[in-house]
Amino acid sequence: MGDYLVLAFSCVLINNILLAQYLGNCPFLGTSKKMETAVGMAFAVVFVLVMAGLITWVINTLVLVKFNLAYLRTIAFILVIASLVQFVEMFLKKSIPALYAGLGIFLPLITTNCAVMGVCLINVNEEYTFLQALVSSFAYAVGFGLALILFAGVRERILLARVPRPLQDTSIALVTAGILSLTFFAFRGWV
């Protein structure tokens, strides 16, 4: 049990997928202008990442490793994740229309989110067990959401700050992301 907590802690904070591993930066900058969109994206990622992490783990163990085809991982995962997103979309539309409407446009956007792909690959590279893969996928997704929502909050405030003209808009966002990333480095060495 303790191990899982440690794993979760390190995935959320120490190895935060956005701020420590620098994966998934396009939605990080793209959907963080408004709190509302950031929250939507965060939830959609949690949902898809858990599903994708598990399925790719299964495919990897049952198919790729068995047939000694580990080098096909990337391309196979791409295929699987893309189909999965489609599948999830259909499933939600039918069974949980409310959730479908809530996640809306963010669901299809995830197909191109490298954080998802990254976590799936990490799970496999680290040779996690199924349960470990579950925890890590979930924790990475929460980490993603945490960073995104924090960042969106900061960006909304920045609108009100006195920012020198050359630094306005995207450049100040990148500077802020850097500082945010530095603060996450403070967790380094805890585990």
Partner: protein, 705 residues
């Protein structure tokens, strides 16, 4: 290698199979029309319509959330095709247009240096704003950036200006503006807007029965934009030449400048721009919405009927006015005399309204020449009754039918009809010593007419005191100047005649003011034994008038039409709909004898209800309606820091000259006086925010003058 290919194929095939299976299992019925509509849309996926791409827009159309003309890129044909798929009427397809509805007053200087991101959004969230301007525009142009069609630019005075030809009505600027400066509405929506409790309204605009945007038109005049002023007034009132002359301007009683000195001369300014348009030699264009194919019968072509017809026509409906008199205008033509409102002027005004494409059928009387059933048979979808109040109340005194006795409306209309005929017969015998009984506009118009017709001695006999006279104050003063004698606190009891049946004396009883009644007014009570005789040879009773509703006879098809105990047509005060759903009423026929502006306000209100009724929508009251009420906070009680300035004096013809004939007595302001008068307006209640007040309360805000 083969293995790898096999596995990839396997994974791919499995994914594909799973997906196609899933699409069967999780199949959600989707209206096939969505795909069909999507096929018709432009396919640019530009998002200009405000929906996520063409698919989103198509879904919204099918769900009924968006009109067939949703696509901002496609043309009219597409909209018609989409409407075809949906099996609906494409409607009038009136375009949505963005308009800067702020009044463009003077912008004050920037109050402090702001270094944040230059967006209105940020500025408004932080301080409410940077500058203190009259309307609250922040001027940083979020609207300009939000417009995908490059239709907005910053005007010279620092306010955004929307270019009508480029605007597609997507509504992006309205969403972007944190101050609601830009609004995207169709013309119809603008024309049918009524004062609402949460609007930023000056006290004068709240008081005006026609709800004219007074500060805006005054500001237009101040800037020399007379045409803008005319257009602003026309959005609420099509009879500006008439109102500019005869309106008793209740708005001026509420003018805040009036708290410190004299109120702004709002109505003279209206007359100034109205005359400007007429004398300019050309008419300003009045746009109308595309035809809807609906037909409305307007019965009665007085101010109420003309206004209702004007707005319905501008909303795209077909209108026919039926009137029992040969010409339109109602009481304004046949009651108000020539010297107050020259017929030439009225003619020009009415012509402009009929030119919009309104039919006029003269000399037909409801109840005699046609009835409601015949209108329905002719295919009219709704009927508006604006038949006015043409029936004189009788004095109920002995001797009323002696020779030389007249009633007010009867006298005025008979005289007016004769005066306007090609060869005036002048067959109404005018007495030497004339007495007019009553204290309203009708009475005053009678005496002033008599003075002009050469009567030697003209008197008014009124039951109460001068203070209670309902006539317009300026009229009373003018009558005094013209030598009319006033007998107050005198109640006529009978008219005495000689053996030829000719009236010779009026007997009246003197009155005194009694104890105040429940309403606080001191009622006049007769003094016993105070009967007095006055010599006379002509008596006109003008003690009030009510609607003639004899057309609702027992056996007619509208015998169930509700009528109040004052003989006015009954209806909902907000919608003016009667108990017969397709019949609407306004003006004097609904309110009882009242004012021209009141009839105009009613006519527009009825037009709104008829428009809703024709669109088969619920005929509901205006949401958050402010009808006849004031926003209490807006009636501020102190006006400070004013530089005193005199109210413009109305130019008049000298008394000697004017009583010789029916020449117009009141004249129009000179341009320089109008400009000076316009700059007296305080533009009340339009200041949205005051940064100094919000940031530190040390420095009290000064009234921006």
């Amino acid at each position: 290698m083969i293995e790898a290919v096999m596995v990839m194929l396997g994974v791919g095939a499995t994914c594909g199979a799973a997906l196609s299976l899933a699409s069967k299992i999780f199949y959600v019925y989707e209206d096939p029309r969505i795909a069909e509509v999507e096929g018709l849309l432009a396919g640019a996926n530009c998002g200009g319509c405000g929906y996520p791409g063409c698919a989103g827009a198509a879904a919204a159309v099918v769900a009924g959330g968006a009109p067939p003309g949703v696509c901002v890129v496609a043309d009219m044909e597409t909209a018609v095709a989409v409407a075809g798929v949906m099996g609906i009427d494409p409607g009038t397809m009136e375009p949505f247009l963005s308009l800067n509805t702020c009044d463009g007053g003077n912008r004050a200087e920037d109050r402090f240096e702001y270094m944040g991101v230059n967006t209105c959004q940020a500025l408004s969230a932080l301080y409410g704003g940077k500058r203190e301007c009259r309307v609250g525009c922040l001027g940083l142009g979020d609207c300009i950036r939000s417009c995908k069609f490059d239709a907005i630019h910053m005007g010279e005075d620092g306010y955004p200006v929307a270019d009508e030809t480029k605007c597609v009505g997507c509504g992006a600027c309205e969403k972007a503006c944190p101050k609601s400066i830009l609004t995207v509405r169709t013309m119809s929506q603008r024309l049918l807007h009524f004062n609402q409790q949460d609007n930023a309204l000056a006290p004068c605009q709240q008081t005006c029965p026609a709800e004219i945007d007074i500060p805006t038109y005054i500001d237009c005049i101040r800037r020399g934009d007379y045409e803008g002023a005319v257009d602003t007034i026309r959005e609420r009132n099509p009879l500006l030449l008439t109102c500019g002359r005869v309106c008793p301007h209740p708005c001026e009683d509420y003018c805040r400048r009036g708290l410190a000195e004299e109120p702004v001369s709002i109505n003279q300014l209206k007359r100034f721009v109205a005359d400007y348009e007429m004398n300019s030699g050309s008419r300003l264009p009045i746009p109308c919405a595309p035809d809807t194919g609906k037909k409305i019968a307007v019965v009665g072509g007085g101010p109420a009927g003309l206004t209702c017809a004007y707005f319905l026509r501008r909303l795209g409906h077909g209108v026919t006015i039926f009137d029992m008199m040969p010409k339109l205008g109602g009481m304004v033509r046949y009651g108000i005399p020539e010297y107050r409102l020259p017929k030439k002027v009225l003619e020009w005004e009415i012509e402009g309204i009929l030119d919009l494409g309104i039919d006029h059928r003269p000399n037909v009387k409801l109840g005699a020449d046609f009835d409601i059933q015949s209108l329905k048979d002719e295919g009219f979808d709704a009927i508006f009754l604006g038949v006015g109040a043409w029936k004189d109340y009788s004095l109920r005194a002995e001797g009323e039918d002696l020779k030389g006795c007249f009633t007010g409306i009867d006298f005025l209309t008979r005289f007016a009809v004769d005066q306007q005929s090609a060869e005036p017969a002048r067959d109404i015998p005018i007495g030497r010593k004339c007495i007019v009984i009553g204290g309203g506009n009708t009475a005053i118009d009678c005496v002033r007419t008599l003075v002009r017709l050469g009567a030697e001695e003209v008197s008014i006999v009124y039951r109460r005191t001068r203070k209670e006279m309902p006539a317009n104050e300026v009229e009373i003063v003018a009558a005094e100047h013209e030598g009319v004698q006033f007998h107050f606190l005198a109640a006529p009891t009978r008219i005495i005649g000689d053996d030829q049946g000719q009236a010779t004396h009026l007997e009246y009883q003197k009155m005194e003011l009694g104890e105040p009644d429940a309403s606080g007014r001191r009622r006049p009570v007769p003094i016993e034994g105070s009967e007095t005789l006055m010599e006379t040879d002509m008596v006109i009773t003008a003690i009030g008038q009510g609607p003639d509703v004899s057309f609702i006879s027992e056996n007619s098809d509208i015998s169930s039409l509700g009528v109040t105990r004052w003989n006015t047509i009954d209806g909902d005060p907000e919608t003016l709909q009667s108990n017969i759903p397709y019949i609407f009423a306004a003006g004097d026929a609904y309110t009882g004898a009242s004012l021209v502006v009141e009839a105009i306000g009613g006519g527009r209100r009825a037009a709104r209800a008829i428009h809703l009724y024709l669109a088969e929508e619920d005929v509901v009251p205006v949401p958050k309606s402010l009808r006849k009420k004031h926003i209490p906070e807006s009636l501020f009680e102190r006006v400070e820091g004013l530089r005193p300035s005199k109210r413009a004096v109305m130019p008049e013809l000298p008394v000697k000259e004017r009583i010789q004939g029916f020449e117009e007595a009141d004249l129009v302001l000179a341009e320089k006086d109008a400009l000076a008068e316009a700059s007296r307006c305080l533009n009340c209640c339009r200041l949205c925010y005051n940064p100094d007040l919000q940031i530190s309360s040390e420095q009290p805000a000064e009234e921006s003058a």
